[in-house]
């Protein structure tokens, strides 16, 4: 089974995406299954081993956090953009990275990117530090502690990495 379907989660996601796009006839179900099996095989060398999911409820809770933060981020950025520009305190912040798996680091960076007022711009060559641009920084320590607590810690708990 693991040989036929090396990434079961990825296969399931692909199959459901295909079904959503193409509708629910038996033919589409068959093509969805076919793609769900073939595509992971083709891209397996690029993935380099995905970390397994340890806690599905945890993953759903984290996804909920991220969606909520997207809404908050938009309202925050809207307020900052429409307010006086001279009062913004933009800053580059160096954030230490604890996770080591490349896929998890990229997930972590994506999550920072779509949440309140911060965009990761660069990862140091040893992948221990990343450079994050913050639109309006109040307290550097508090900012670092917040993103590590809110995103990195749950990621480490949910994924086997």
């Amino acid at each position: 089974m693991t040989k036929l379907c090396p990434f079961p989660m990825l296969s399931m996601a692909l199959a459901s995406a295909w079904r959503l796009l193409e509708g629910f006839s038996p033919l589409h179900l068959a093509s969805a299954c076919l793609f769900a099996i073939i595509i992971p095989f083709v891209i397996a060398p690029l993935l380099g081993g995905l970390p397994g999911i340890r806690s599905v409820p945890g993953a759903i809770r984290l996804a909920g956090h991220v969606v909520w933060d997207i809404v908050i981020a938009n309202i925050t950025v809207a307020r900052l953009v429409l307010g006086p520009v001279s009062r913004l305190r933009p800053a580059f912040v160096k954030v230490p990275v604890t996770v080591t798996h490349p896929s998890v680091i990229s997930l972590f960076m994506s999550m920072i990117s779509i949440t309140p007022g911060s965009i990761p711009l660069e990862l140091s060559p040893d992948a221990r530090t990343m450079l994050v641009h913050v639109l309006d920084l109040e307290d550097e320590e508090a900012f670092i502690a917040k993103i590590k607590e809110r995103y990195e810690r749950p990621l480490m708990e949910i994924l086997e990495c």
């Binding site: 959503l20 796009l21 938009n74 809207a78 953009v81």
Partner: protein, 108 residues
């Protein structure tokens, strides 16, 4: 009637955030700050539009195709922001925020 109101509300919310994103792009002083407008506001902007599309499909059978567009958008927006940021760093574009020293030697 209620559905129509909801759809219009979602369209208005969506266009508001898209507009704010564009205003940010034009108004903020440097490239790094400008990045924030489009990457943030457009996700909720397009999200609102897509939610309106999902709602409008309810009378003739719910269609969830739009949720896929939202998903792809959330996956790709950070990548494009990251790439623009990388280009800006490498071209040493002026920035209001000072760049930390150990990241300055990374530029080649």
């Amino acid at each position: 009637m209620l559905l129509e109101l909801l759809i219009s509300a979602m369209l208005l919310v969506g266009s508001f955030f898209l507009l704010v994103g564009s205003i940010g792009l034009g108004r903020l002083p440097d490239c790094f700050m400008r990045l924030h407008g489009p990457t943030k506001s457009t996700t909720l902007g397009v999200g609102g539009m897509l939610l309106a599309a999902v709602l409008s499909s309810i009378p003739d059978g719910l269609s969830l195709r739009e949720t896929l567009i939202a998903l792809f958008l959330f996956i790709t927006a950070p990548v494009s922001a990251f790439l623009v940021g990388q280009a800006a760093l490498r071209r040493r574009l002026p920035s209001r925020a000072p760049l930390p020293e150990d990241f300055q030697d990374l530029r080649h």
